[in-house]
């Protein structure tokens, strides 16, 4: 099992994330009374993008190519720290949740730099907004994980998102509920979902992430889309491990994770179908609310 588990985990991380995008789109289509594209459409899109020819802007430099590369490698490495299935994550050490936050920060740094590399006003605008919202989302994310860690007295993601969470729910439930709500908001914001950002349209002045990658095409865009899916999965998997605490080892955990991934995707789809996008000037207040929820979660635990 010791050799099989990491392989299974790696396969899960590599294969599952795009399906989340498919489920979200399907849910939204159902809400709108449409049939929608097949659930596996993101995989077809990726396969298509990787085979396409590229166009690079004459203005750009190596930074423009580093953006997609780091945008896919950093989330993939971050996903290796998430406990998937039974037992620990592929990699685990004390404080690894900060490494996850910083790896996602590295991806954000280069995505923004690549956007500015094009010299386009639109992409600069997206980068500026991404940077602004990250300033509030980042402390919320770290504080939320700190609260869970504090409850479990463990310092690694495998330690505090593993089976021990279940034992702490009865006692620390109120705090966990607050943190789960805060992390859900952070997930929406960090993955450019409504009500912060609208991933389904390009080229509106309210766009954030999509407008940053406007000039990427072909394989580079494939890298970015895949990286974005992996990043969404990283957040979703952490939420699932917090909200669906399963103690008995074995296949139940794998099933819970797979089911949870679908459930979270549907939840995002429902949010996207029922909630209107916030005015940009109101987004910071929305994120500050998440920050406060996570901070309250911490305060409730320190007695």
């Amino acid at each position: 099992m010791d050799i099989v588990r990491p392989i299974l985990q790696a396969l899960f991380i590599l294969a599952v994330p795009p399906i989340m995008l498919g489920v979200i789109v399907k849910t939204k289509a159902q809400f709108a009374g449409r049939v929608g594209p097949p659930v596996l459409q993101p995989y077809y899109d990726l396969a298509k993008l990787l085979r396409k020819r590229s166009v690079f802007s004459r203005t750009t430099t190596w930074v423009f190519r580093a953006g997609p590369v780091i945008g896919v490698t950093a989330p993939l490495i971050a996903a290796a720290f998430i406990p998937i299935g039974d037992g620990d994550a592929m990699v685990s050490f004390d404080g690894d949740f900060l490494v996850v936050a910083y790896l996602l920060g590295l991806a954000r740094f280069f995505t923004m730099a690549a956007a500015l590399d094009t010299g386009s006003a639109f992409e600069g605008m997206g980068a500026a907004r991404e940077a602004t919202f990250a300033c509030i989302a980042e402390p919320a994310f770290v504080m939320g994980l700190l609260a869970i860690a504090r409850a479990n007295h463990a310092l690694s993601l495998s330690g505090f998102l593993g089976p021990s969470v279940a034992a702490h729910w009865p006692h620390d439930g109120p705090s966990f509920v607050l943190v789960a709500a805060g992390l859900f908001v952070v997930m929406l914001a960090e993955n450019c979902r409504l009500p912060v950002d609208d991933p389904s349209t390009h080229l509106e002045l309210t766009m954030i992430h999509e407008v940053m990658v406007l000039d990427h095409g072909g394989p580079a865009l494939g890298f970015i889309s895949y990286g974005a899916a992996v990043k969404l999965f990283v957040f979703a998997a952490m939420l699932i491990r917090l909200v669906i605490p399963i103690t008995e080892p074995g296949w139940a955990i794998w099933l819970a994770l797979a089911g949870g991934t679908i459930a979270i995707s549907i939840a995002i789809g429902v949010v996207e179908s029922t909630v209107a996008r916030l005015r940009l000037t109101h987004v910071p207040a929305f994120l500050l609310a998440a920050c406060l929820l996570c901070a309250l979660g911490v305060v409730l635990l320190v007695r």
């Binding site: 430099t61 590369v69 490698t73 910083y102 920060g105 954000r108 010299g119 504080m143």
Partner: protein, 655 residues
């Protein structure tokens, strides 16, 4: 020890020679390299063995002997000083105008290095103060190198005044210590630490006096002015080493006092404030070097958080947390010296290539200056604290100190909450730093040239790139070397915390970071290769203008617009002051927009205060008549009054 004394002499000697041969600044630079070659092994040896050596030199005035020595704390600060000093000296040879007697500033630079070295080597307060003053004056001379410029003269003036207000506190501090202990020698002062109310006064004086140099908010106002005005290699040296000597002085002085409970919390609180305010003000600077200077204030804040939490934890009996936080602070002192070296020297090359410090007139420099640009991006990623580079390794240790303290079972609720919120502060600072440095590299290096000067920019020569490359190599290697590097800090920790602390926790905590860095480098290389394969069939075209056919470089996001959204989130006091005046007519008329990006503390606190003080002092102008014999009279009167006070005191004691 002898080696560092020789290093001192080499620095002074080559400086003198260079000032005599002003056309050959290379002599001074060779001296700086030789000093580094001599001093670094000596410092490493002292760190490794954990021993202290002291030399006494009989010298009549102003005290009976001059005492210099090298102990682990000195050695820790001497290392970045000598290394960065050599890099900056080499850079300066190629950076400064050949036609303007470059040997003179090179000689002053060596004098500055010697003074800074003497600051860390001094073993009594008088030598320390003399070296401190030499350091201030030498750096003032270098800050005002471009003294034809009015802004530079003003910056130098602010620097001189701030430094001397600080020195006034230091004089009071050492007079107090010397008076109560009967000696200025560090060994005597450390042997009998001062306690009680006098210790509190001394600690506050040290915090004020050394805090000015360290750039702790709100004592930082000289720092952005001076760093922007100075030639870039001097900015690098000041930011990388000189301001850290403020921290050295603070740590050294705290060693003369009995540990008090409030030190740790106060240092950590000042650190959090400096980090947040520093990075917030860095966000909207148009001057690239001012932005970097504010980022130095932020980094001093991070170091102070580490020091504060470390002192606090060792006081409360948590050796593991203390070791992590203190090692993090020390390592950050080293890594920040390298990172700020790269950033300021890189900014210098940009200034050299384009002739401007204004971000709005740069742009697209990565194409014109590919080597400098790549190293600058590397430095930016490192200074934000992102993996896999040096900044992450040191910030990781500070983080781990906070987290391990905050997540330990039990404990005092207040202390735990403060530690956990400090983690959130560091996370917010990290996100703000990302914005700040993406903005700098994005506006300066990427996109299209924003001015004719930027379009004509030229790449620097090998002499300027080599020092930056050497420091960058340090940044890349540091995550791998850090577990071994912190192992050598045990004796420094023991000196600062005054209890033996094991560095083993810090080394073991850093070990996974080395693996992470390796994995990340390999993954990035693999990803780059794969993308190159997949995108082999590519063509070049214009950036898509979203249907607009004639985009111009002026339509790019500017440095101001990039930070604008975040500025709205800052407290009103910290924002740039922007005033718009528009004529209210039916047809477009004359309009005016003024933005003031000056330091808010200068603007709303120091300037009004100093203005009022200045007006009061104007009433004393009759004292200054400019007549020589009047001044002789003043001196004589002062001496008579001083003698009278001493006589009265003796009479009082005798009674």
């Amino acid at each position: 020890m002898t080696a560092s004394a020789i290093a001192l002499l080499v620095l002074v000697g080559t400086g003198v020679v260079a000032s005599l041969v002003p056309r050959w600044p290379g002599i001074a630079a060779a001296g700086a390299i030789a000093a580094a070659a001599l001093g670094i092994p000596a410092a490493v040896a002292v760190l490794g063995e954990g021993t202290a050596v002291e030399h006494r030199l009989a010298w009549a005035a102003p005290i009976d002997e001059v005492r210099i020595g090298l102990d682990p704390l000195s050695a820790m600060f001497a290392l970045p000083l000598l290394a960065l000093g050599a890099a900056c000296a080499v850079y300066g040879v190629f950076y400064l105008d050949r036609a303007r007697r470059p040997g003179v500033p090179a000689a002053v630079l060596n004098l500055l290095l010697a003074a800074m070295l003497l600051v860390v080597l001094a073993r009594d307060a008088v030598v320390l103060l003399i070296a401190w003053e030499m350091m201030t004056l030498a750096s003032y001379r270098l800050v005002t190198y471009e003294h034809g410029d009015r802004a530079v003269r003003r910056a130098g003036w602010v620097y001189l005044i701030a430094s001397h207000l600080g020195v006034a506190c230091l004089l009071a501090l050492f007079v107090l210590l010397g008076h109560l202990r009967g000696s200025f020698g560090f060994a005597e002062l450390a042997a009998r630490p001062l306690g009680g109310g006098a210790a509190a006064v001394a600690a506050v004086l040290a915090l004020l006096g050394f805090g000015v140099k360290a750039g702790i908010v709100p004592l930082h106002v000289w720092l952005p002015e001076a760093h922007a005005a100075a030639p870039s290699h001097i900015s690098a040296l000041m930011s990388g080493v000189l301001i850290k000597l403020g921290l050295y002085g603070l740590l050294r002085t705290l060693g003369f006092l009995e540990p008090a409970e409030w030190w740790g919390p106060v240092l950590a609180a000042l650190g959090s404030g400096s980090a947040l305010v520093g990075i917030a003000l860095a966000l909207y600077q148009r001057d690239i070097k001012r932005a970097l200077a504010y980022s130095s204030i932020e980094n001093v804040g991070v170091i102070l958080i580490g020091l504060g939490v470390g002192l606090w934890a060792s006081d409360a009996g948590h050796p593991r947390i203390a070791a992590l936080a203190l090692c993090g602070a020390m390592l950050h002192i080293w890594t920040h010296a390298m990172m700020k070296g790269v950033m300021f020297l890189g900014a210098g090359s940009v200034l050299h290539g384009t002739g401007t410090r204004d971000l709005e007139t740069m742009g697209g420099l990565m194409r014109r200056m590919p080597r400098t640009g790549a190293l600058f991006v590397l430095g930016a990623v490192a200074i934000v604290g992102l993996p896999p580079l040096a900044g992450f390794a040191s910030e990781w240790l500070v983080y781990r100190g906070l987290i391990d303290g905050g997540l330990a079972p039990g404990g005092d609720a207040g202390w735990i909450l403060l530690l956990l919120f400090a983690v959130a502060v560091l996370a917010a600072v990290g996100a703000l730093a990302t914005l700040c440095f993406v903005r700098i590299i994005g506006v300066a290096l990427l996109g299209q040239p924003r001015s004719a000067a930027a379009a004509r920019a030229h790449e620097s020569g090998a002499g300027m790139i080599a020092p930056i490359a050497a420091l960058s190599a340090g940044i890349v290697v540091m995550p791998f070397a850090a577990p071994h590097a912190v192992a050598g800090l045990g004796s420094v920790l023991a000196q600062v915390a005054r209890v033996p602390l094991s560095t083993a926790p810090a080394s073991s905590v850093l070990a996974p970071i080395a693996w992470l860095s390796l994995a990340l480098w390999l993954a990035l290389a693999a990803g780059m290769v794969v993308l190159r394969r997949l995108a082999a069939r590519s063509r070049a075209d214009d950036t898509w203008g979203c249907g607009y056919a004639a985009p111009t470089p002026r339509m790019q996001y500017t440095s101001g617009s990039f930070a604008e959204a975040t500025l709205q989130l800052l407290p009103r006091m910290l924002r740039a002051r922007i005033s718009v005046r528009r004529e209210a007519t039916l047809f477009p008329g004359h309009g005016e927009l003024v933005s003031d990006r000056g330091d808010p503390f200068t603007r709303s606190a120091y300037e009004p205060l100093l203005d009022r003080v200045g007006k009061r002092f104007a009433q004393l102008r009759w004292v200054q008549q400019g007549i020589t014999y009047l001044y002789v009279l003043y001196i004589a009167a002062t001496v008579v009054i001083a003698l009278a006070i001493v006589a009265a005191h003796d009479w009082w004691v005798a009674r």
